[in-house]
Amino acid sequence: MSVESITIPASREQRPADLPVWQIRVGTRLSRVAAVAGIVLVVALAALPAIASRNLIQDLIFVLTMLTLAQLWNVLAGWGGLVSVGQQAFVGLGAYALFAGIVTAGLDPVAAIPLAGLFAALVAAVLGPLLFRLEGPYFAIGSWVAAEALRLICAQFKSLGGGTGMSISPSELSQMFGLKAVQALLGLRPAAARDVLVYWLALLLAVLVTLGTYAFMRSRHGLALAASRDNAAAARSVGVRTARIRHLLWIAVAFATGMVGAVVYLQKARISPDAAFSVTDWTAYVIFIVVIGGVRTIEGPMVGVLLLWGLVTYLAQYGSLYLVVLGTLAILIMLFMPRGVWGAAARRWQLQLFPTQRWLGRSR
C-alpha cells in the first residue's frame, strides 16, 4: 500500500540488471494489518447503538468529537506549524450557525451541519490573511483574540439568546432528518434516537477527518505542508506555494471544526457564547489530547483521547484540581516525553500503524 512511490529514473548508461531500484515508501506490513483492523473497528462502532446504553453512546459522542478536533488541530499546528489557540472560534461559529439555521431559517438540523461548516470556513477565509500577518507564536495569541471577538459578537445577537444563550425545544428537533428511521430501527424514544443519530454523525466525521488527514499527509501536498513549516524559504525555492497551502489548510480545518461544533451542539440542544467559545473545552482539552498522545502522528490523538476519557471519568468530579492535574501532566510530557505516549512507544517498538513518514526501500 505504498501510496506515494517515486521511482528514481534509471541513468542513461546501461544499468546492470541486478542493481536494485530504490523507492520511497510510506506503508509497512503492520500498517496493512492496522488498516483492516481499523475497518473492523469502525463497523463495530457503527453497530454499537444496537446494544449500548445511552450513557455509553453519550460518552462516545464526546470521545469521537474530541478525537476529530484533536486530529484537526494536529494537522494545523503539528504538521502545518499554525499553532492556533483559537479553534474554539470555529466550534462556536459552527454551533451558532446551526442554531441560526434551525431557529431563524427553519432548516433541517442535519442539512444545517455542512452549512455550519461552510459558515466557519467563510469566516476563516476572511480572518486568515489578517492573522497570517502575525508570525509563529504571535499567531497563537492572535487567533485567541479573534475567537474572543467572535464570542462577543455572537453574544450581541438577541434572537440567538444574547449573552445568556438559548435552547432548542425537542419539538423543533423531532422532525429531524433520519430521526424517525432510527426510532423505528432501534425502537427508541425520540431523545435517545437523537443521541444515536448524533453519534453516527460524529463517527462519520471522525472517520472522514482521520482518513482525510492520513491521505493528505501521505500525499505530496502533505509533504509540501511539512516543508513549509520546517523551512518556508527552502520550500518556496523548490516550488511550494507556502502561503497558499497554509491558507487552504486553515480554511479546510475551520470547515471541519465548524461541523464538529454543529454536531456537538445538536446533541446538547442548548447554547451560550461562553460555552460554545470556551477555550478550555475546545482548545485546552484538544491540545492536551494531542500532546499526551503524540504530536504529528495519526495514532497520537487516538491514544490521547482515550487517556482523556479515562481522566474525565475518574477525576472530573474534582473540578479545578482535575484541570491542575491535566495541565501539569501536559507540561511534564512536553518536558520529558516530547513525542507523547504513542510517539515514545512507536520509537521503542518500531510501531507504525498509520505511517506518514517516508523511508527509502528496495523495490522488488
Binding site: R133, A140, G142, L152, V295, S320
Partner: protein, 288 residues
C-alpha cells in the same frame, strides 16, 4: 464635556494595559518567547500581594516589594527549570508549556482562593482624586497607574540602553551565539529577563488590583490586552508598547461609552483593524 472624560478615562486605562504589556514585550523581545501564562502570572502576583497584606498584615507597599522579590525568583527558576528545556527552533513546545502553565495557575488560584472577586485595599488612596483644571478632576489611583507605567518604561529603557545588563539583553536578542562568544552567559540573561518580566508584572498587578476587582478566571483576558497593546504599538519598542496600551484603553473607553457591552469588543476590533492597516504596529522600532 463627557467626550473629554471618556478620553481621559481611556488614556488612564491605557496606563494599566501598558503595564500588563511591558513584561510580555520584554521576553518577546529578548527570547522570542510568547508566554501564554503571562495573564495568569499577573493574577498570581495580585493574589500573592493580597495574601501578604492580609495574612502577614503588611502595608500594601511593603507587601508589593516582597512579592516583587518573590516573583523575580519565581521567574528565574521557571526559566531555568522549565522554559529553558523547550526553547528552540520549534515554536510548538514553548507555546504548549506556557499554555499548560496558564491552566495550572488559573485553576490553582481557583482552588486556593475560590471564585469570589477580590480587591487590593489601599485605604483613602482608592477614592481620592486630584483636580487638574477647574471642573476636571481625575482619580488618584488611575493617574498613579499611568504615571507608574511611564516611569516603568523609562526605567526599562534606562536598563536596556545604559547598563551592562541591558547590553547583554540586546546582544543576546540580536545573536545569542555571538553574545556568548563575547562572554555573555545566555542562560543567566534569559533567566534574569523572565524574572524581570514577572517583577514588572507585580507592579501591573498592584495597580490593577487597586482599581478593579479580580477573580482567578480573568488572567487570559489580561494576556490578550497585553498582547494587543504590544502589537498595536509595534514590536520591539517599549515606548510603542505604552502608546499601544493607550490606544487600546481609548478604544475600550470609547466603545464602552457608546454601549457598555461593546467595551472589550471595541478593543479587539481596533487590534484587528491595526493588523489590517499597519501590520507592523503604529510605532514600530526603526531597526531593520
Amino acid at each position: 464635556m463627557s467626550g473629554f472624560d471618556t478620553i481621559i478615562e481611556g488614556v488612564l486605562l491605557g496606563g494599566v494595559y501598558a503595564l500588563f504589556a511591558l513584561g510580555l514585550s520584554l521576553i518577546f523581545g529578548i527570547m522570542r518567547l510568547v508566554n501564554l501564562a503571562h495573564g495568569d502570572l499577573i493574577l498570581l502576583a495580585a493574589y500573592l500581594v493580597l495574601s501578604a497584606s492580609t495574612a502577614l498584615g503588611l502595608p500594601l507597599a511593603a507587601a508589593s516589594l516582597l512579592v516583587v522579590a518573590v516573583m523575580f525568583v519565581l521567574g528565574f527558576v521557571l526559566q531555568r527549570l522549565v522554559l529553558e528545556r523547550v526553547l528552540g527552533d520549534d515554536i510548538l513546545p514553548p507555546l504548549l508549556v506556557t499554555f499548560g502553565l496558564s491552566i495550572v495557575i488559573q485553576n490553582g488560584l481557583l482552588l486556593g482562593y475560590g471564585a469570589d472577586s477580590r480587591r487590593l485595599q489601599a485605604g483613602a488612596f482608592e477614592s481620592s482624586s486630584v483636580t487638574l483644571a477647574p471642573g476636571l478632576s481625575v482619580g488618584l489611583a488611575p493617574l498613579t497607574a499611568l504615571v507608574t507605567a511611564i516611569a516603568a518604561v523609562a526605567l526599562l529603557q534606562l536598563i536596556f540602553y545604559r547598563t551592562s545588563l541591558g547590553r547583554a539583553f540586546r546582544a543576546t536578542a540580536d545573536n545569542p551565539a555571538i553574545a556568548q562568544l563575547m562572554g555573555v552567559n545566555e542562560r543567566n540573561v534569559y533567566a534574569i529577563a523572565v524574572g524581570l518580566s514577572l517583577a514588572v508584572s507585580v507592579i501591573a498587578a498592584v495597580v490593577f488590583g487597586i482599581r478593579a476587582s479580580f477573580d482567578p478566571s480573568i488572567g487570559p483576558a489580561r494576556l490578550l490586552y497585553a498582547f494587543e497593546a504590544v502589537i498595536i504599538g509595534g514590536l520591539g519598542s517599549l515606548w510603542g508598547t505604552l502608546a499601544g496600551g493607550i490606544v487600546l484603553g481609548l478604544a475600550q473607553a470609547i466603545g464602552g461609552r457608546i454601549n457598555p457591552e461593546w467595551q472589550i469588543l471595541a478593543g479587539h476590533l481596533t487590534f484587528l483593524a491595526v493588523l489590517m492597516v499597519r501590520p507592523r504596529g503604529l510605532f514600530p522600532a526603526r531597526r531593520t
